[in-house]
């Protein structure tokens, strides 16, 4: 009897080891994703963990007084302005902006996603996303991959570099989630956009400024609700040491529309 038991143990151990190896293999995949295929680059459209293309409408439940109407001169509540920033805000002169043809100052990249309106998100090609905003008839172009700016004069929408990857702080340490990486069969990552090389403009319609050196960082997150609604949550961080005494952080939500209903391109307005 004793010998039989001894004889069985290696078999049991073999099965257990096999199971263990399978477990390690499965767990490693769920934790880190499958081993990446070497070399073959994946384009941004293919790597997208979620689809934000389509029409979206802003639902103004925050900062209504500063967004739905043009706030009064000098009303810069909530914005962490430096003394210089307050001075510039207090000197807001929409007539001067109109005279200079700078009516779009409040429609630049750091502000446009906060302006009431609708946006239409499309892929131009496999590594270029476009966001059309009907407010001010602005167009943002998000470049994935190895895109390099051609320089030139700064524009309202600046140069935007986009990526799906992000450092995800997880229990047990930081985990790098590269583009198209799948964890547990699910693509992960957030659309992150960094925009520079912008023409100076306004964070708010009433002349709250950002400078030419401002850096805009955005994160685009998606949620699908039990109600059937789909929401796009855009976290926006504006760094501008000249006019802001700390990063200016806001998050803005957009509701998915089934079609282009309400699409209403308008020109920029300075007041």
């Amino acid at each position: 009897m004793g010998n039989r038991i001894v004889a069985r143990r290696p078999k049991c151990l073999g099965v257990a080891t096999l199971g263990l190896l399978m477990c390690i293999s499965r767990n490693a995949e769920s934790q880190f994703g499958p081993e990446p295929a070497p070399a073959r680059p994946v384009d941004a459209k293919t790597a997208a963990p979620y689809d934000i293309t389509g029409y979206w409408v802003s639902v103004i439940t925050e900062d209504w007084r500063w967004r739905m109407v043009t706030p009064a001169k000098g009303d810069y509540a909530s914005v962490p302005l430096t003394a210089e920033g307050r001075k510039v805000t207090d000197a807001w002169d929409p007539a001067k902006d109109e005279a200079e043809g700078a009516q779009c100052k409040a429609y630049g990249a750091p502000a446009i996603m906060r302006v009431p309106g609708r946006i239409h998100v499309t892929w131009v090609d496999a590594n270029t996303m476009k966001i059309d905003a009907d407010a001010g008839s602005q167009v943002r172009t998000l470049h994935f991959g190895e895109w390099k700016t051609s320089g030139g004069e700064p524009q309202w929408q600046g140069d935007s570099i986009a990526s799906w990857d992000e450092m995800i702080p997880s229990r047990g340490g930081l985990a790098l989630v590269p583009p198209s990486r799948e964890i547990g069969g699910q693509k992960r990552g957030t659309l992150k956009v960094i925009t520079t090389h912008m023409r100076p403009g306004y964070l708010r319609k009433n002349g709250v400024p950002y400078s030419a050196n401002a850096v805009l960082t955005e994160y685009y997150d998606l949620s699908r609700e039990a109600s059937g609604d789909t929401w796009l949550w855009i976290t926006t961080v504006v760094n501008d040491p000249q006019y802001l005494n700390q990063p200016f952080i806001t998050s803005t939500h957009w509701k998915k529309q089934p079609d282009a209903s309400g699409w209403n391109p308008t020109p920029c307005a300075a007041r």
């Binding site: 143990r9 103004i60 009064a72 997880s170 976290t235 998050s251």
Partner: protein
């Protein structure tokens, strides 16, 4: 001899199995985003409302119905001087999803499986503690007790923690009398981006809202944050006869026009309502010349 040694080795190897398996089970949680730590709120939108407090009669940005509006218009801020109201905390939807109070997240981990059982969130103001159950337990039946923080369950959707909260006590949507009923359901999404946390919340309330109310709050990780105790003791601030509750009867609140007047807004614009949340309303309001002075 060899055969006799094998069982001993096998026993050792078999003994190691549970340890290895437990270790592997534990690492599954690493794929989840870590929320633990001290988070400092950033009040970079609606600061006057979220900080000092909203103006009376400012119902902008809220998809409220007529019942909510009538109730809010009867609100008298002197209510907050009544002892029973003085230490009244804010509920979960206001605490983390609107006020932006500093918050501490602590995970509760099962000691044997190392699986996440719950997140505990402590808000500085009124020392509120909230639990988000992550172990798959169901929500209690409808008739179960309602609390300030309600009953919350969470699940991971990719890198996002999605939390559903029911069994909330009635509380403010805005601290000028706009309330959310105890029938509401709160859905939250916690998006972590490096040292930033965006908490997106959606309140659905069949009693006072005509459509879901989405809002969001931003936090920044602050490893130096110290959360102070928040003792609160109710006292008699204003002597009143028993049973007196400060309020305005419908149509008698003299302060409802102040906000609109101060900011040069039409009275209708500040009364709230879903139709005023959309860009189409801005177009209409432009036609009625709402601009800065």
């Amino acid at each position: 001899m060899m055969n006799q040694k094998r069982p001993a080795n096998s026993m050792k190897a078999a003994g190691m199995l549970p340890i290895v398996l437990f270790a592997l089970l534990g690492t599954q949680a690493f794929a989840q985003v870590d929320l633990s730590g001290e988070w400092a709120g950033r009040i970079h939108n609606d600061a006057p409302e979220r900080g000092g407090g909203p103006d009376i009669g400012d119902f902008t940005g809220l998809p409220i119905n007529a019942a909510a509006r009538m109730r809010a218009e009867s609100y008298n801020p002197s209510l907050l001087t009544v002892p029973v109201w003085q230490c009244r905390p804010h509920p979960a939807d206001y605490m983390g999803g609107r006020a932006g109070f500093n918050i501490r997240f602590t995970p509760e981990i099962d000691p044997s499986t190392q699986q996440l059982i719950a997140w505990h969130a402590r808000a500085a103001w009124m020392a509120q503690e909230r639990t988000i159950w992550m172990d798959g337990r169901p929500h209690p039946p409808e008739e179960a007790r309602h609390t300030w923080q309600g009953f919350s369950t969470g699940k991971w959707e990719g890198n996002v923690l999605t939390v559903t909260t029911t069994h909330l006590k009635m509380g403010f949507l805005r601290r000028n009398g706009v309330v959310r009923s105890d029938r509401a359901v709160l859905t939250e999404h916690f998006f972590r981006h490096g040292d930033m946390l965006t908490v997106a919340s959606i309140v659905e309330d069949p009693a006072y809202l005509t459509e879901p109310l989405p809002r969001s709050v931003s936090y920044v990780l602050d490893t130096a944050q110290q959360m102070a105790p928040y003792p609160c003791e109710a006292v008699v601030e204003i002597p009143r006869e028993d049973g007196v509750v400060p309020h305005y009867l419908p149509g008698t609140n003299p302060f409802l026009t102040e906000f609109a007047t101060k900011h040069n807004l039409p009275l209708d614009a500040v009364k709230g309502g879903a139709e005023k949340l959309y860009p189409d309303y801005q177009k209409r309001s432009r036609e009625t010349a709402i601009t800065a002075k």
